[in-house]
Amino acid sequence: MRKFNPKIDTDPYDRSSRYIAISSRCAHLGCPVRWVDAAERFICPCHGGVYDLLGKRVGGPPVRPLDRFYTRVSGEAVQIGPRFSVNSELRRFSPRDPGEPIDGIGQYLYPSRPTAQKP
């Protein structure tokens, strides 16, 4: 999680949030990614998925950027809300399982489910 930075978070869908919370669940098959300082990237240990600071895919097998969480500021604390998935332009979708692309036809092939919370 980090503060909204207008120099980095330039995508139009991102304007409203004051804090950015990125999920560590890899968008390939769900292994936990970790930030690697030397590479300045998120790297997944299972199958080599690589993401940049925004969670966008840089390399490897993932089919979409890392998921995010809703955030809100309550007094001194930043609270984390429900998960949502983003496509390659960081447009928001209801949470999808790893391995399910949501760009183009993907959003129809892998529809939102009743068990998934709507954003």
Binding site: G30, C31, R96, D97, P98, E100, L109, P111, R113, T115
Partner: protein, 270 residues
């Protein structure tokens, strides 16, 4: 129904064979010793008279086998034995296993491995036996394929075999989660997500496997139920159908075995 062949006589030397009854013995009521001697036969006869099981037994066991049958034909029996071994060791493991995601599952596995008498051996048999079974299933499938034994009239048996192969894979997948250590947890997350990448039904399939949108406490008990109730029953039923068809249709000769042409069918040289 064709007349079934008689059971072959045991190949004992004549000195060891029971002598025929003396002329007076069979007359009159049998004494207690004779009755005791006949007790086993009487019980078997009693059951057989009411079930005709001996005919089924002869139908199952005394079959004609084509010339050229070789060791490759034993791979199916080897797979069956691997399954039986998995069933027996699995029953013993189930006596100790607790499908408790809050540490109980891992603890019970640790208990079996480290403390129960021969527990490590039985668990090792089950763990390595699962790989052996998968390998044997594939070798058996390769034998059937390369010997052309899937052709008419045995296509249905091939189809049943493919279903059995898939069920074996389901067993391997669901069994992998049960130790509930880090490796099992993450491997199952990856496996469930691979299921989820199937278009349209994939997301629903992974929801079913997990018991909800997220991997949780339900997932372990669900995998446990699939692993030891649902799939074993299906496998036993389909193995029964598989073996029935093998007995009914007989085995094939290897493809290099030429049928000997009968003299009266040969055309005379002109």
């Amino acid at each position: 129904m064709p007349k079934l062949p008689k059971l072959p006589a045991p190949p004992l030397p004549s000195a060891l064979q029971a002598p025929p009854p003396r002329p007076g013995e069979q007359n009159g009521a049998a004494g207690p010793i004779e009755q005791a001697k006949e007790a086993g036969t009487t019980v078997v006869d009693w059951v057989d008279e009411r079930t005709s099981l001996s005919g089924t037994g002869r139908w199952l066991l005394f079959r004609k086998v084509p010339k050229g049958t070789n060791w490759f034909y034993t791979l199916g029996s080897a797979t069956l034995f691997a399954f039986l071994s998995q069933a027996v060791t699995g029953v013993f493991l189930a006596m100790y296993y607790r499908p408790d995601p809050a540490g109980g599952a891992y603890e019970s596995i640790r208990h079996v491995t480290n403390e129960v008498f021969l527990g490590q051996f039985v668990r090792g048999m089950h763990k390595w036996g699962s790989s052996v079974m998968v390998i044997l299933v594939f070798l058996h499938m390769g034998r059937v394929f390369f010997f052309g034994a899937y052709k008419y009239p045995r296509e249905l048996n091939w189809v049943i075999g493919v279903v059995l192969l898939i069920l074996t894979m389901v067993m391997s997948f669901t069994g992998y989660l049960l130790p509930f250590d880090q490796r099992a947890y993450w491997a199952t997350i990856v496996g469930v997500n691979i299921n989820g990448t199937g278009p349209l039904i994939g997301p629903y399939l992974s929801d079913f496997l997990r018991g909800g949108g997220e991997f949780g406490a339900t997932t372990l008990s669900r995998f446990y139920a699939i692993h030891m109730l649902l799939v074993p029953g299906l496998i036993v039923a389909l193995i029964g159908a598989h073996l029935y068809l093998v007995t009914k249709l007989g085995t094939t000769a290897p493809p290099w075995q030429k049928a000997k042409e009968r003299a009266e069918l040969l055309e005379a040289e002109v």
